[in-house]
Symmetry: C2
Subunit: 156 residues, 2 copies
DNA sequence: ACCTTTACTTGCATATTGCAACTATTTTTA
DNA sequence: TAAAAATAGTTGCAATATGCAAGTAAAGGT
């Protein structure tokens, strides 16, 4: 029998690969997979600081700093120093950045649609509800991305 | 409203982080995250060839070759040349490898239990069934890990 | 004013990755 | 059956990603 862990592991891996394929196929050399995750989060959390994004992605701020610089150089994000606190920089998508991200969106949406198309309407709804449940449970349990000092890395 | 894509993306990222934490927390310097995925697959596909594992993980064979060498050097997997075809090497877990993997298993199982504990029995069952549905749908759709030449990378 | 904390950046050393090119072993084919 | 093509896996190499330690600069606390 397949364990829950196994199901999760395999699902996550497959979706990760889909994600990678998405970067490759619709914006080729433009962005790497981490970079597409960054674009995704910049849009999701509106006007986030560097630290916020790094936390959301569970990545080291120093690594993030460099990736942000790269994305800025590519003209996909822009940076604005906060008026309140001049230490913090807020990132936002440029028009080009939004464009890249929406191409990725479209690719993912197509694939998700194809994936879901093999299910009945009822199944689809069940699956979507389950994903919501899982996300809530993950956020509540606070056990993802917990580092040794017990700081939660990602579950905002 | 949160889109399905958003739900999936976030869930996958969180689980990925949990996975990373799992490597860190229970076998620290021992194995990286990709390496734990490799151990996982070596066990799952019994006596797989190099190519098979690389395919399952959607990774380049050359990268895999090096990772395999590292894991062998660490004494976590062992390699046996096939009798049928002396080009292929089959990998298997050593006792040490099984040990590491089962520590990761335990860590993951604990976390998964904690995550699921906030749900009702009914919800748990729904979620687990949904994961099965999703995996089947992903495998059927053949859209994960499809590279430019249309070869499916992972959905065996 | 001084000390501490916070946000972010850089130096450095290491690890990961993919492509092209290589060896070794089948398999095909002419 | 000998030569050609395909397959499994390995290296060279150059690019990229990563994390830690140490730095700068700006707030905040006392």
């Amino acid at each position: 029998m397949e364990s829950v862990r196994e199901k999760l592991q395999i699902f996550v891996r497959r979706f990760g690969l889909l994600n990678a394929a998405s970067c490759d196929n619709c914006c080729g050399e433009q962005v790497s997979m981490v970079q597409s995750h960054i674009l995704f989060e910049v849009r999701r959390l509106q006007n986030p600081s560097m630290q916020q994004i790094a936390d959301a992605l569970g990545m080291d701020v120093t690594t993030f700093s460099r990736q942000a610089k790269t994305l800025e150089a590519k003209g996909l994000v822009s940076r604005r120093v906060s008026a309140d606190d001049r230490r913090v920089s807020h990132l936002s998508l440029t028009a080009a950045g939004e464009d890249v991200l929406s191409r990725i969106d479209r690719y993912m949406a197509d694939n998700i649609e194809r994936i879901f198309s093999s299910m009945s309407a009822f199944e689809q709804e069940t699956v979507i509800r389950s994903l919501g449940l899982l996300n809530d449970a993950l956020a509540t349990s606070g056990c993802c991305g917990v580092s040794q000092n017990n700081t939660v890395a990602c579950c905002k």
